[in-house]
Symmetry: C2
Subunit: 436 residues, 2 copies
């Protein structure tokens, strides 16, 4: 079947056969499909739609385009968390050690930041010496020794997805649920998991803001996971303000270490709360705990005994980083950054926070990437001093931008209007909206 014929089938709104889809994905991998043919087909898929069978078929073909990891020689249940991405979301760095401390093996393959969202790999690289480029043998060794391993997507995992995703990003074909599901699940299924918990963000700072759409995405992710034999659950969480206190690579690792050490400030609490809920769900999925309450107890114990922190320290050591940061998280903070304060523009209650604006601002001062090849400044970031529902007076400090001196002029007034203050309490946030 020539690319033209497969493209014409979807162009005319007909369903593609499994053979068509395998031919497409094979062609993406071996280069017989040109990039301009890939994007033409993907646009036709976006507009004409994919039915459930087609979506499963693409997921499977992308999964099988690469290696599927085999951890059958590890006794512990294999589990992981995936988030659709939010501003200030550092839960991966908490869930991995928490779940590992409770007996889950967590082979976590993560991404880098792009646009307004950060990436776990970038955060980890703010730890001096930390290496996210592990061979499979090394990845497995780390996983066996400390219960979790954190690495980047190699070319062996769902290579078709890697190529297609980059092309979708350049052709406005990212926001289509069946393609999002196929992209996420082809990578996660390659981790050889028993259980997967998904954090699907909804609200203004989420990549799919509308709740009904988020719910559809969450359901589709779960159904796809189950179809491929992985116990999959999704938690829909609000992303209408940054999660926790800090946004920025080193600052977020700092926040996680403070929480693992039991020294977390009030503003950091949402980060821990969400991590506990996601980890607890995973423990129940993995049958390590019978109920959520039982699971939460186990997690609290792992925190209280310092076992989670020990797992983190061990991981940093195994992945080449400096474990001293676990004792002195302040080591992660760069001295001499310029602090630009953000003030409340009126008095009342904070009703809305433009987390997209905050995420983009941190990205633009160097904390993220505009293009995949950009370098990241791990030091810069933002601290949320006040949250939705907090009472403020005009002129109160509500946030701090940490930036390089030469950026200070640029960021002044950058977040003007990012906080909406209203006379009465119009809303409070509810972190968890639904469990799917």
């Amino acid at each position: 079947m020539r690319p033209q014929e497969i493209i014409a089938t979807k162009r005319d709104g007909k369903a593609l056969s499994d053979d068509d889809i395998v031919a497409f994905i094979d062609g993406v991998c071996d280069g017989t499909w040109a990039d301009y043919q890939i994007t033409a087909l993907v646009m036709a898929m976006f507009i004409r739609g994919l039915n459930r069978r087609e979506q499963y078929s693409i997921t499977g073909a992308m999964l099988n385009s690469g290696t599927i990891m085999d951890f059958s020689d590890i006794d512990a249940p294999k589990g992981d968390k995936h988030s659709t991405g939010g501003v200030g979301d550092k839960t991966s760095l908490l869930i991995a050690p928490l779940a590992a401390a409770c007996g889950v093996a967590v082979p976590m393959i993560s991404g880098r930041g792009l646009g307004h969202t950060g990436g776990t790999l970038d955060k980890l690289e703010s730890i001096p010496g930390f290496n996210v480029n592990l061979s499979f043998a090394n990845f497995k060794k780390v996983l066996k020794k400390c219960g979790f391993a954190l690495a980047g997507q190699t070319n062996e995992i769902a290579p078709a997805d890697k190529k297609i995703y980059a092309l979708r990003d350049a052709t406005s074909t990212v926001p289509y649920i069946p393609l999002i599901v196929a992209s996420i699940m082809s990578k996660k299924l390659a981790e050889g998991l028993d259980a997967l918990v998904l954090d699907v963000k909804t609200g203004t700072g989420a990549f799919i803001p509308k709740y009904a759409e988020t719910l559809k995405l969450a359901k589709s992710l779960c159904e796809t996971g189950k179809t491929f034999g992985v116990n999959t659950k999704a938690i829909i969480t609000e992303m209408n303000q940054p999660l926790g206190k800090y946004v920025g690579n080193a600052l977020e690792v700092f926040e996680c270490l403070k929480l693992l050490r039991g020294e977390g400030e009030e503003e950091m609490k949402p980060s821990l709360d969400l991590s506990v809920e996601l980890t607890a769900t995973l423990l129940v999925q993995c049958k390590i705990a019978g109920t959520m309450e039982n699971a939460r107890d186990k997690i609290r114990r792992a925190l209280a005994t310092g076992e989670a922190l020990e797992r983190f320290r061990k991981n940093v050591e195994l992945q080449g980083g400096d474990p001293k940061i676990c004792d002195k998280p302040e080591m992660l903070l760069t001295k001499g950054l310029t602090e630009v304060k953000v003030f409340a523009e009126s008095s009342g209650y904070i009703a809305d926070v433009d987390s997209l604006a905050i995420g983009s601002m941190v990205g633009e001062i160097g904390g993220g990437r505009q293009k995949a090849e950009d370098k990241v400044d791990h030091a810069v970031g933002y601290a949320c001093i006040r949250m939705i529902g907090d009472r403020v007076q005009a002129g109160d400090e509500i946030g701090i931008i940490y930036c390089r001196k030469n950026q200070a002029a640029k960021v002044t007034d950058r977040l003007r209007g990012a906080y909406k203050v209203s006379r009465e309490i119009t809303r409070t946030t509810k972190l968890i909206r639904a469990v799917v």
Copy 2:
């Protein structure tokens, strides 16, 4: 405006602004739009549709992406013919000298054959020495001296169309009327014409087979031409069997010379009849004749006096070809070709001819191209001995394949089933279906 935003607009079914379209065409020309972005937008245009304003806007932007020829210093009215492409259609080689002999200046930019249809440039190159690569200055000189000039599309004429067309061909986005119209008209409007007559093919051998669609295409071409100030007419003609006797480059030039010399055989008559009608339409459009009958008279005179043949001879001379072929058309025929005969499979009347099969067969034995970079064998081809409506006995010779010896085994039985014979006369062909 970033490519992604323009793509998203059409992806969501919204109309593009004139600025969006100019940005797109500029981006195609200067390379800031990647090929994969071009095809994504074109697929969205194909599925979501383009309104009339958008179609005119694309036509204009593609036209303005290149040079528009200026023949204002030539007194004669400037006119041309364009055909949507058929098998055995060699009318360009007759219309150009006929119209020139009657006082029209014909600056004819033509294409090469691809797939099952031939190209005027390939046909001309079967004349020893004939040069289709003329500079604009040279093109104009030839036009002034003999009334017509024939050349290939240079990089200066509608370069955006050239690039987009090649990408559409590879991504199954060719058959969409607004894009077809924009592609044809951006090139024809660049010829600086007063009048344009279009031969829009319908029927099984046409690129748009359905009559209703053909009519839509013809109307849209005429409206677009008029919008850009060119007197445009379209004739819808049947393409359900090859036009005239021969299919194949040198054979078709041979047929034209025989007709210009008044030595045409009965089977060649449709080629002349259609050429006369198209030329007559052009003469009326150019106000050289007041009525079609008057125009036909002028054309018959140009043939009878040998003036049209003289124009052809002069043109061959000016474009570097050997003018002796005008005296001895047989010089064009290659000796020693293998003749493979095609016989009627049953007795009755020829009801249907698969002109696509004949065109593809001639292409595959070397007469055409599968890919743009293929070389063409000018000698090979096909002769139609019997036409639709002809009475045949089983075993009668109905066609001859002229091929290279090593192809003979390959072509045997190649056209089996291409001719449908029925007991009664089921149809006759009517060359001209409508004038738009």
